[in-house]
């Protein structure tokens, strides 16, 4: 018991000194278990590759340039889709959050379309736009849009009424209030919306790439299925997880915390 406590203390100290370790160490048992199962030969190698096989595949594909190209394609699609989603979602959310009329008119429609879900659009999108970038971008934008709009509305509504009033009686115009009070007040929620939206968007992108893609990580995984290459499929899965971990834990979460905490809007 004492020894365990000491080890835990040592772990806490170590991860505080090198925060990157905290991200790596929890995976050691996972990889170890994976290695043991693979090496024990419970399943045929072709069905259940081990870590070494995946690393080898990673090196080969990177060396050939396929992996970097596909990764780039996926990330650009996500970035474009997320940017368009934000550009549409934030103004729409602010409109709905500030205007009672816009709220009444848009809210039911918004909930209706949210319920349809991104992938459900694919059949009709394929008929309209075919197998291409337009279809993929549409799905990403669609996925990112709703969390951004809903969280922006929440953010706008959470700004205390007195703040807007204070700005008005200090001489701000309605437009200045929007810029100086509403937007910064809603920002932590907007970032939460972006964070959720990117998470859903990333998953939707992989699904779409499997169906309509000619490149990208999702395409790579689905294409590997045809060749029966489980190694590449597992490699794809690992890349999805890693990439999201990096983006979320090292960029989005700190950003969300930074705005919320600095302004005293989040108390934790």
């Amino acid at each position: 018991m004492n020894l365990l406590l000491q080890m835990w203390g040592g772990y806490a100290r170590m991860t505080r000194r090198w925060p990157a370790l905290a991200a790596v160490i929890p995976f050691i048992p996972v990889v170890a278990l994976w290695t043991i199962v693979a090496e024990a030969g419970l399943f045929p190698r072709a069905f259940f590759p081990g870590p070494a096989d995946v690393v080898r595949s990673f090196v080969t594909l990177t060396y050939k340039g396929i992996l970097p190209d596909y990764l780039q394609d996926s990330l650009i699609r996500l970035f474009v889709g997320a940017s368009v989603g934000m550009a549409l979602g934030v103004p729409l959310g602010i409109l709905i959050g500030t205007s009672r009329w816009a709220h009444r008119i848009c809210w039911p429609v918004l909930l209706f379309f949210q319920a349809i879900g991104d992938i459900a659009w694919l059949p009709i999108l394929l008929i309209w736009f075919g197998f291409g970038l337009t279809t993929m971008t549409f799905v990403i934008v669609y996925t990112v849009l709703f969390p951004v709009v809903l969280n922006t509305v929440l953010g706008v509504e959470s700004v205390p009424r007195d703040l807007g009033r204070a700005a008005l009686c200090l001489g701000a115009s309605r437009a200045r209030v929007l810029w100086e009070v509403t937007l910064p007040g809603a920002l932590p929620n907007i970032i939460t919306g972006l964070r959720n939206g990117l998470g859903y968007g990333w998953r939707a992108l992989i699904a779409v790439e499997m169906i309509v893609g000619t490149s990208g990580i999702g395409f790579m995984m689905f294409d590997a299925r045809r060749a029966g290459s489980t190694v590449e499929i597992v490699l794809g899965m690992i890349i999805l997880g890693l990439l999201w971990y990096v983006v979320d834990a090292w960029i989005l979460a700190p950003l969300e915390r930074a705005t919320g905490e600095r302004w005293g809007l989040v108390t934790s």
Binding site: R165, A166, A167, C169, L170, G171, P184, L187, W263
Partner: protein, 252 residues
Amino acid sequence: MKTLSLRNLGKTYFDPYAGAHVTAVHDVSLDVQQGEFVSVVGPSGCGKTTILNMIAGFIPHSKGEILLDGTPVNGPGPERGVVFQSFALFPWKTVLDNVGFGPKMRGVPKAERDRIARDYLALAGLSHAANRYPNELSGGMQQRVGVVRALANEPAVLLMDEPFAAVDAQTRMTLQEELTRIWQDRKPTVLFITHDVGEAVFLANRVVVLSKGRILDEVAVDLPRPRVWDQLVDDDEFKRLSAQVLQMVRAA
């Protein structure tokens, strides 16, 4: 010279839950002279906040007139500064930028508005906190910022709705003393709303007693300044005035 003048002011709310009209302010006429400090006291629900919100332009009035230097007001504007019970500081702006917000809206260049803000922060003894964010300050300090932020805009009239209700008793007394000092220094026109009789008498030149949406009576306060609690608690004139106002409020 009168700055603010209310003529037969009235407000009727529609309460959608009760489905009925509620008259919160019946008929209020009041003149506030330039450089005067007027306190308004009255029991809870007598319409104090409603009156202030109408003067500030946050809600429309139902009848009568609100004149500022002879011109009717409608909607909020920088010539009527407001100090909020909730402080209402912008959490994403430093103390300096909060105080400089009014000048910024007037188009005052950055260097000049920082100078103005520093000047007013010094007045409130807050020079050391200029670069901090509001959530890093105590409640008392936050409301000091709220007061000088409104003053830095040099409003024709300063409206305060129970601004010290959210701080502890000791801090409240300090803030009251500081407010009288600042008032003596800058002589702003102030309309101060409170339900605390002692506070009303301590601060004002004149105390107006409100009852059920009407002005019941008013009392002139000629206590010498600067006013300090240590001296006034035992002052016979202060005690007499407080008792007189308290009696009116109780009767209201």
